[in-house]
Subunit: 224 residues, 2 copies
């Protein structure tokens, strides 16, 4: 609605970012949703993001295209690396080098131009403890950088990186989302869907299934 305070929100189209959108809307933000076409193996994620943005009441949804395929080094972008079908420990092969830093940097540029000072990101330090750029100390460091990097920061304004899911379990995220009326039907979590269907065996599929089971509700996703 007119007069809402503005936020930029990173939207992958998974259940975490759908819930983050609902939380930001609940807090009264006009949400400018941002997704990336960054050479990920599947584009179903972008279709899901567009559907989630519509369903969740985003003010607008933009897709930034970033061709950094030459970087490689992740199972999510490099055809030479397999997405694991068994649980792994440590930093997963699905970690994309510096991904959240790139995403947050673009979000910051857009936020500065829009006059938004809040950037929402659905990262989680419980399920994704192996990803260095999902840790609270990383987000704090980005916030410090944002305030040094920008015209607005120099002029004394403050950017805030908001990660409301940071310390929640997947079941808690789902319960909060359902409480806010999130429709998880269009969301997609799978790292490696085939022919529009989730694989059911990657880390993301397993975490999602466990989350819905613990929350005691069926997963309504159309893609599983």
């Amino acid at each position: 609605m007119a007069g809402d305070k503005k936020a930029v929100l990173l939207l992958s189209g998974g259940l975490d970012s759908a819930t983050t959108l609902a939380i930001a809307r609940h807090e009264g933000f006009e949400c400018h949703a941002l997704s990336f076409d960054y050479g990920q193996r599947h584009k179903d994620e972008l279709k899901a993001a567009a559907a989630v943005a519509r369903a969740g009441g985003a003010y607008e949804h933009r897709v930034a295209s970033l061709d950094m395929g030459f970087v490689g080094g992740s199972a999510l972008t490099d055809p030479g690396l397999a997405v694991p079908e068994v649980p792994t420990t440590g930093i997963p092969v699905t970690y994309v080098p510096a991904r959240n830093t790139v995403f947050l940097a673009v979000a910051l540029g857009w936020a500065e131009v829009l006059g938004a000072r809040d950037i929402f990101i659905g990262v989680n330090a419980v399920d994704y403890s192996g990803y260095p750029d999902c840790r609270p100390e990383y987000l704090t460091a980005f916030e410090a950088l944002a305030n040094l990097a920008t015209r607005a920061g120099v002029e004394g304004e403050r950017f805030h990186v908001r990660a409301p899911l940071l310390r929640l379990t997947k079941a808690e995220i789902i319960q909060i989302g359902l409480g806010l009326g999130v429709d998880y039907t269009p969301t997609l979590s799978c790292y490696a869907p085939r022919e529009g269907r989730s694989c059911g065996v990657c880390d993301a599929c397993r975490l999602r299934a466990k989350g819905f089971a613990e929350a005691g509700v069926p997963d309504p996703a159309i893609l599983i």
Copy 2:
């Protein structure tokens, strides 16, 4: 040459990045040069970058494409904003929101995959004192972020953001470059070249002309 330590180097094709390349090569780095096609108004910059990479002995040169044109807000990317033809004070209209943060983030991802721990950037806090993301404290903050953002950082390695021109005048930069054998012929500094020729009146053209005058050497650029 084989066995050199690796560095990622941000290369715009201007005289600053040409000099930075020469310094990094002089320090024994195998330089992986990175330029961006980010919706800047003119592509002559990318041609100049490729020529500078070849002339300066870069190991390779890659161009990352980033379509964030919807962000707007800068005279360098937004057709609705004019590049000023008189000197300005404060943060210039040619400031691109979060540009160096985006560039450094992509450089960081590539560095991590390459096994490079040094990232060279030709920023300068003398001539570009109006750009928040050219200040020493900004670079220090990015280095801190890099070490939290990455697998390598978590494993105890350290990234270094190297800005060897940070406190030099344009004349000093040119003198150092000439001492290292830099050929400034293919470099391009202008913000708004027309038909392959520098405009001669934008901030970048003025700073360059002043630098060559103070260094006491003619500007050999083919584009002016």
